[in-house]
Each structure stands twice: as C-alpha cells, then as structure tokens.
C-alpha cells in the first residue's frame, strides 16, 4: 500500500489517470512547498490578517515514513522515557482503514490550530490561547496543569508533562506539570521559516505538507485549497481547524 501513497509513482499516476480520486496534479506540492514567509520582528504583535495553516496531501503520505514525527521530536526536544502512555507526542502518524472497501491511508495528526479552539474555551486561567495569526499555544507560566484542555480537545492533540524534563530544546521550554502541544513551530514561523515537520517531509521528497497563510491569495496553500477538495477533521464540531487534509 505504501507505494500507492507515493506520488508520482506508476500506480499513483495510473490511479490519477483513471480518475478514481481527485488527486492533486503531480508535483504541485513539491513545487510549492516549503513556502517562504516574512519574519515577524520580536517587538511586534501577531497579526490577524494572517491565518497560518497546513495542508496535508494524504495521497503523498507514506505509511512507513515518520520524517515529520522525528523532525518534531528533534526540534522540540521531546526525549521520551520509553513510556508510550505518558511520553509527549506533538505529532503522530495515524493509519486509517475503511473496513468496507479496504481503502487505507496514513496521515500526520497534530494540533489542528482551531479557529474556535475548545481547549482555549475551557482553560480556566486563559493559559491556552490563540494568537492573532491563528496559532494556538499554551502559556507555560499560567498553566496550572488541570488538563481540562486535554479533555476538551477533539483531536487528542495535547500531552501532559508527566515528569521532570532534562535536555530541553532552547526554542521549546517545557515544564513538568504543564500541558503542551504542537506550536506549529511558532518560533520558526516568527523567524520566517516553515515548521520542522513540513521541512522534513519536503526534504524526504514527499512534499505531503504545505504550510502558508490561508488568507494570502499569493500563498500556494491558499491557491491549492481553492482548487482541490480538502477537508477539516471533525468539521461537524465547528472548530474550524487551520490544518486541512486532502485525499480522505
């Protein structure tokens, strides 16, 4: 199945030619990602004319590949203690299978940077918050570790720091007893660089992830979502995620 997700491949192309699914034109993502952005100076506020988002082309995501997950761990300094139930995971690979048809897909799942984030709605102290540019973060200084946000997140996107943390990455200060999640690599985005997962996926030649400003007509992501069918996960919950998926 894995090679089926690799596009362009012979089977992938054949499938596209047969018109079985609305696959993206081969190369669209590869050409477009990673999209550059301007750095945000430290002393300026985030800007609501921007809505950072991600597009995942599941047709291009390989089941065997964990480049995005590995890159995230590296970037964010997520050193596990070999305890899968309590170790933090900001991004994970989810394997889907439709029992009726045998159709399978593999995709990365992370904080969806909801426009109406339930995590922020329930957070008693306001530690969970959405920046003007759509990135949802946890303020580690006022998080009391109640985990209500984890109860409320429909995507199981958050982790709780269950133990003392050593060797932290400078760009991701973590704290025992606080909740954490994907930051959409806000530190990189603010410096004008795409998130680590997007970069890794691109470097691996998959090009299954596209990052950009969903409100900027010049950004590839905005053009692609206008041309091809994409979906939001659990759209029925009206969280309006900033992460969109193609191919499921």
């Amino acid at each position: 199945m894995s090679e089926n997700c690799l596009s362009p491949t012979r089977r992938g192309l054949l499938k596209a030619a047969a018109g079985s699914a609305a696959l993206l034109a081969p190369g669209v993502f590869l050409l477009a990602a990673p999209s550059p952005s301007k750095a945000r100076p430290d002393d300026t506020a985030t800007d609501s004319s921007v809505r950072w988002g991600l597009l995942v082309d599941t047709n291009r995501c390989d089941q065997e590949c964990t480049a995005c997950v590995d890159a995230c761990k590296e970037e964010m300094g997520l050193i596990g203690k070999g305890r899968p139930a309590t170790d933090a995971q900001y991004i994970r690979k989810v394997e889907l299978a439709e029992p009726k048809t045998g159709f399978t897909r593999s995709l990365p799942m992370m904080c969806q940077h909801c426009s109406n984030p339930p995590c922020a709605d329930v957070c008693p102290t306001g530690a969970s918050f959405k920046r003007a540019d759509g990135i949802v973060l946890v303020d580690r200084h006022i998080c009391i570790g109640c985990r209500y946000c984890m109860m409320a997140c429909p995507y199981k996107a958050r982790s709780f720091a269950h133990e003392k943390l050593e060797d932290q990455a400078a760009n991701n200060p973590r704290g025992k007893g606080c909740v954490e999640a994907c930051t959409l690599c806000a530190h990189r985005v603010d410096a004008g660089i795409v998130p680590a997962c997007v970069e890794a996926c691109h470097a691996k030649g998959r090009g299954a992830m596209l990052f950009g400003d969903l409100q900027n007509p010049e950004h590839a992501i905005t053009q692609v979502v206008a041309q091809y069918p994409t979906s939001q996960i659990r759209a029925d919950l009206k969280t309006d995620p900033g992460v969109r998926y193609h191919g499921i």
């Binding site: 203690k81 305890r83 899968p84 139930a85 309590t86 170790d87 933090a88 995971q89 994970r92 690979k93 989810v94 394997e95 889907l96 299978a97 439709e98 029992p99 799942m109 339930p118 922020a120 709605d121 329930v122 957070c123 008693p124 102290t125 306001g126 530690a127 006022i142 998080c143 009391i144 570790g145 109640c146 985990r147 209500y148 984890m150 109860m151 409320a152 997140c153 429909p154 995507y155 199981k156 958050r158 982790s159 709780f160 720091a161 269950h162 133990e163 003392k164 704290g175 025992k176 007893g177 606080c178 909740v179 996960i233 659990r234 919950l237 499921i248």
Partner: protein, 413 residues
C-alpha cells in the same frame, strides 16, 4: 418545639479522640501521597495522556457533588419551612462546607502545578466553565457561612430563611456547574448530554443525604446523644426518593444517548460490553448502590438505624462507582476522529484506553474524605452544631402527645 439545647461534642471522649486521630492520619497519608505524585510527576499514577483525569477526580467530583446535596436538610428546614429539620440544619450546612473543602483539596492537590493556585484565583477566563466553578465554589463558602451564622445566632435565628433560600438556589447552580464540566465536552461522546445537569443534581441529593445520615448516626453514637426515629424515618424516605431519582436519570441518560446516531456504541460500551465499566454500572451503581439500599429503606420490616446506616454506606459506594463510570469510562471510550474508518496510531487512537488507579491516587481521594470529616469533627468540637438530644419527644412534641394520648386511652380502657 421546645427550645433545644445545642452543645459542642465532648472532645475528651475516647471514641471521639480515636476517630479524630484516625481521620488526621488518613488526611496526612493523603497529603503524603499528593506530595509523592507531585514530586515524581504524574507518570507514577495511573493517569496518562489518554486518561487524563483519574481517581483523584472521581473522589473530588463525588465530594463536591455530595457537598451541595448535604445542604439539603438545611434547605428543607429554611426554604420549605419544615421545622422538624431545624435541629439538624446547622450540621447539614457544616457538612456541606466540609465536603466541598475536601473535594476541592483533592482537586487542587492533583493539579500539575498546585503551587500556582494563586494563578487560578487571579487569572480568569470567563468563557471557561471551570473558572465559573471557581467563583461558584468560593461563593458557596461565603453564602453557607452567612447562612450558618444566621441559624446559630439566637437573635437572627428566625430570619434565616432569606440566606437559606439564597444558599439553596446557589447550590443548585453549583451542581449544574459541576455537571456542565462534562456536558460541555462536545467531542466526548459519553458526556455531551442535556441530562447531565439534572443527573448531577439528583446525584448530589442522594450522595449528600447518605453522608449526612452517616455523620448524624455516628455523632449521636459516639457522643451518646439520644436519637429517635421521627427524624431518621424522614431521612430514610428522602434517601430512597433521591436514590430512585438518580437511577432513573442515569438510565435516561443512556436511553436518550442511544437514540443519538453514532452514540449507540458508547452506550453499549457502558451497558453491555465495557468490562469493568459495565460491571461497575450494573453491579455496584445499580445493584449495590440502588436496588439494595432501596430495599433496605423501603421494606418496613427492615427499618432500623443499622439498616439505614448500611443503606447509606451502599449509596456512597454506588455513587463512587457511578462517578468512576462517568469520568473514567467516558475517557476510556476512544474519540472518533475519522467516522467510518478503523484507526491506529502510536498515541492509542481508536482503541479503548486502559486505566489502572494507582495507590497514591486512591490515598489522596481518601485523604479528601478524611479532611471533610475532620472539619466536621473539629467544627462540632468547638461550636454548638447539634442539640444534646434528638429524642422524638424533643423533636416532635406532638409525637409525645400522641403517644401519651394513646397510652391514656389504653389505660382508661
């Protein structure tokens, strides 16, 4: 009603001292458990990134819910003018405060950062039902304290119905608020239901009454205060009604959910194939905690203080089981991210989550119970919360008169 003489507990009695030492010990053990969990981090507990709320939350929610129900006796006396409950109304208010304090202590001690309590008190996100609850809980302390003062001050005694009514309304809102913590979790299929709020109100009345009965019986026993049956008979009926209402709403919760497309599976999970959760639901919550106590309270032949106490213990156990099924069972059921697909991941997507409560979590919960009862014991030792006698003739002079009349009738005959 003759003027009742209220008196402090005899703190020098051996039974009282023994009880106090045991409670203090349990409380200290709970504190130690909290310190251990806090120091090592939560990985030493049964809680994980999948089941994020565990045993401490079961105990905390149980105690907080019971707190508002414990106030019921005072409410009936002040709000609904049933003067027969007046002698035990102050104790009911004290118990309400104590249970709330115990529950909140457990909740706070389980936070990832309990040291930031001050942050929770100074940063409010008004959209959050949690933040609203912080205000409701704080308000509850204030209002019930004023109410207690009105009840216990001789000069204000007869004006206590105002604060009483206010406390009554406040506590209904408070329980609704606690229920809404779960009702607002749209993504969790087991929770988002309109029945949650009334269910929590019924639960509060049942649990609160049960604990009140146990405290009353214990206090009268260890302090050797006469306790007739006029009061306990009424409490028995109240307990039965509340237990039945709770069971009815719990069933209603599942029946209504079953009609909701896509919810059938989670209902079946709790009711039929959920393993421990199904066992706790039918065996402990419904069987041990509902049917059994109903039989004990309703079958006339079984009426005695001993069976009433036993029934109350069962209601408490059933209530803990019910809270466990709601809190843990609701999280064990996987979130549906991709309807129609089978899913799998390194983050336990798509499977029923496992949770095994750890000893420190349970000890912390028990510590919360102990703290609540310590507050009651301490309060009763320093202030006059209960009359020296609750004998029937004191509580209900008419009962005595009726008795005398019937005796006279027998004699003259």
């Amino acid at each position: 009603m003759p003027d009742l003489v209220f008196k402090e507990l005899n703190a020098k009695g051996t039974a009282f001292r023994a009880l106090f030492v045991i409670l203090a010990g349990l409380f200290l053990i709970g504190l130690g458990a909290a310190y251990y969990m806090e120091h090592s981090g939560h990985w030493v507990t049964g809680m994980t990134n999948q089941v994020v709320w565990g045993m401490p939350h079961v105990f905390a929610v149980f105690l907080i819910v019971a707190a508002s129900g414990a106030l019921n006796v005072a409410s009936i006396s002040s709000v609904f003018g049933k003067s027969i409950y007046k002698p035990i109304a102050p104790l009911s208010a004290l118990l309400a405060l104590a249970l709330l304090a115990g529950g909140l202590a457990v909740l706070v001690l389980d936070l990832g950062r309990p040291d930031r309590l001050i942050v929770a008190m100074s940063h409010f996100n008004f959209k959050s039902i949690f933040a609203a609850n912080i205000i409701l809980y704080t308000g509850f302390f204030g209002i019930v304290l004023v109410y207690l003062w009105f009840m216990m001050d001789r000069r204000l005694k007869y004006k206590s119905s105002g604060p009483g009514t206010f406390a009554f309304i406040w506590r209904l809102v408070l329980t609704t608020g606690t229920g809404s913590i779960f009702g607002f979790l749209a993504a969790r299929e087991a929770y988002s239901s309109a029945v949650m709020a009334p269910l929590f109100i019924a639960m509060s009345l049942a649990f609160g009454t049960a604990i009140f009965i146990l405290v009353l019986l214990t206090v009268c026993a260890i302090d050797k205060r006469p306790l007739g049956t006029v009061l306990t008979e009424r409490l028995r009926v109240l307990l039965a009604v509340f237990v039945a209402a709770t069971a009815y709403l719990a069933l209603l919760q599942h029946v209504t959910a079953a009609y909701w497309a896509g919810r059938v599976e989670v209902v079946a999970f709790v009711l039929l194939n959920g393993g421990i959760y199904t066992f706790l639901f039918w065996g402990v919550q419904m069987g041990l905690g509902t049917v059994f106590p109903l039989a004990l309270t309703l079958v006339p032949r079984l009426r005695s203080h001993a069976t009433l106490a036993f029934a109350s213990v069962l209601v408490v156990l059933g209530g803990l089981a019910q809270t466990y099924v709601i809190i843990i069972g609701g999280q064990a059921w996987p979130l549906t991210l991709f309807p129609g697909y089978e899913v799998e991941s390194s983050f336990y997507d798509g499977i029923v989550q496992s949770y095994a409560p750890s000893l420190p979590e349970i000890l912390l919960g028990i510590g919360g119970f102990a703290l609540a009862l310590l507050i009651v014991a301490f309060g009763m030792a320093i202030l006059r919360f209960l009359p020296v006698t609750l004998a029937d003739a004191q509580i209900d002079p008419h009962a005595k008169k009726r008795l005398m009349e019937s005796e006279e009738a027998v004699e003259t005959a």
